[in-house]
């Protein structure tokens, strides 16, 4: 059947077409939420409620002149494409439901972790090939930020793996008790081991939201793109179609980061009386909205601050969380 084939998955539903639509929607939604937090309207007059605004932006960027700086490397053309492909790799690992997942195998969590670790390297290379000092500085900051979040992100994965006995993302969602008929997640805590891990792991949930905000460069941690310091970080020299690609992959990464939290802590696609994939998208959008709200509320951090908070506060907290989980599992006999 067509809808079951890998090509359909790659190019239509979790793949290309769907991700373009969700990215355009998310861009509009990000601007709208940000605007209403600042007591203004945001995009309003282009299309109904400004919904055509992001399409106009992207088409305009594509039709603009594409400038390659004189001393830039010839890889200048490819780097945005590579980082876009990387975010597609990320997309292919996230399960939209047990059926709508492109790649799933025993250790997809490790694979996903590897993809997240490579991403800052590409951000750095994007800055490096453009022969711009702000680009290089922004890329270095992306590397520093990776040093900050990578460790405690990995440590917050550990309790989830212990609870679900699985390294695969689909397996983790199954570990949270997926059955279409279940009533209340709180009830399940006492009946069965089917429970959203966010409810038994609130600390890990908070920590991984922080880590995802660092990984996708949201506001308190937007060091690689901080406008007052490094003009636009690694993308300083990119305009026109290159920048359109980068913008799209940035928002796609934002969506997928929220999707990762949904998968690990909020029960994946399980939502009563809603088709699985739609349930996943809805939950992810709720998580994304919370991240947008946090992004527009908090002031930016400095580099030394970031490392200090990450290594002195968040890493010990993540370790503490593992120990608490171990003790509780031992006491309750959760196996």
């Amino acid at each position: 059947m067509l809808a079951d084939s890998l090509l359909f998955k790659l190019f239509v539903f979790p793949g290309t077409v769907f991700s373009f639509i969700i990215v355009l929607f998310l861009f509009w939604w990000w601007r709208k939420i940000g605007a209403s937090i600042q007591s203004r309207y945001g995009p309003k007059h282009v299309g109904p409620a400004g919904t055509l605004q992001t399409i106009a932006d992207v088409v305009k960027l594509i039709t603009k002149e594409s400038i390659v700086p004189e001393r830039a490397s010839r890889w200048f053309w490819f780097m945005p494409v590579f980082s876009f492909v990387l975010s597609f790799l990320f997309l292919s690992l996230i399960p939209f439901s047990d059926h709508w997942v492109i790649i799933d195998f025993d250790a997809s969590l490790i694979m996903l972790f590897a993809v997240m670790a490579i991403e800052p390297l590409f951000i750095f290379l994007v800055g490096w090939v453009s022969y711009n000092k702000y680009g290089v500085a922004g890329g270095e900051r992306a590397g520093i930020q990776m040093l900050a979040y990578e460790v405690f992100l990995a440590l917050t994965f550990v309790p989830v793996i212990m609870l679900s006995h699985s390294w695969s993302l689909v397996g983790i969602v199954y570990g949270q008790g997926v059955s279409p008929t279940w009533a209340s997640p709180v009830l399940h805590t006492f009946v069965d081991r089917g429970v959203w891990f966010g409810l038994v792991q609130p600390l890990a949930l908070v920590l991984s939201i922080i880590a995802v905000m660092m990984a996708t460069e949201k506001k308190p941690f937007n060091l690689p793109h901080a406008e007052p310091e490094v003009i636009y970080g690694s993308s300083t020299e990119y305009g026109g179609p290159f920048y359109a690609l980068q913008m799209l992959s940035q928002f796609l990464m934002g969506f997928l980061g929220a999707g990762l939290i949904t998968t690990l802590y909020l029960g994946g696609w399980a939502l009563p009386s809603v088709p699985p994939a739609l349930g996943f998208v809805l939950k992810t959008l709720v998580v994304g909205t919370i991240i947008i709200w946090l992004e527009h509320s908090l002031p930016a951090m400095r580099v030394p601050h970031l490392l200090e908070v990450a290594w002195r506060k968040l890493v010990p907290l993540a370790f503490l969380n593992i120990f608490i989980t171990l003790i509780i599992m031992e006491v309750l006999g959760w196996a």
């Binding site: 203004r40 282009v46 055509l52 406008e227």
Partner: protein
């Protein structure tokens, strides 16, 4: 050699859609070197909210469509503004705000002021707003005028 337009393709309609798109998303480079920039900030802030029309401030000149020139152009700022203008990709537009860039305004006759921005950028401004400084409605009006002219196709080309 002129290229043939394929059968069934209405070039005029495509162009009009494209110019509607271009006019609806003018990202402006706000390079402030004068006191008028406070009014530009007021235009971007919640009270007038220029983003309603899709005119957002761009982060770098590579992503910008409109250079918003404001303030007196001293001889020291000339290389910078020329460079910023050269860094912007086509199609690009210049909007002049306030008395200073067009005439020197209160600083006219000073030894270190370039009195006319056209002498250093060699372009005609797309819109000029008199005032010292103009009010935010005036700045918004200039952007809307530029947008309407792009939509009609009477200004700018691909």
């Amino acid at each position: 050699m002129a290229r043939e337009v394929p059968e069934g393709v209405n070039l005029k309609e495509i162009m009009s859609v494209l110019s509607w798109i271009k006019g609806s998303s003018l990202w402006n480079l706000h390079f402030c070197f004068g006191c008028c920039s406070t009014e530009i900030m007021a235009t971007m802030m919640p009270r007038f909210d220029i983003e309603r029309f899709g005119f957002v401030p761009a982060d770098t000149p590579r992503q910008a469509d409109v250079l918003v020139a404001n303030g007196p152009i001293s001889r020291k700022i000339v290389p910078r503004i020329q460079r910023l203008w050269a860094q912007m990709p086509d199609p690009k537009y210049l909007i002049v705000i306030g008395a200073c860039p067009m005439s020197g305004g209160p600083y006219q006759g000073s030894y270190n002021i370039v009195t006319d921005i056209r002498d250093v950028l060699h372009v005609e401004p797309a819109a000029y707003i008199p005032g010292c400084p103009p009010n935010p409605e005036g700045i918004l009006e200039a952007f809307i005028m530029l947008k309407n002219r792009i939509k009609e196709g009477s200004y700018g080309k691909f």
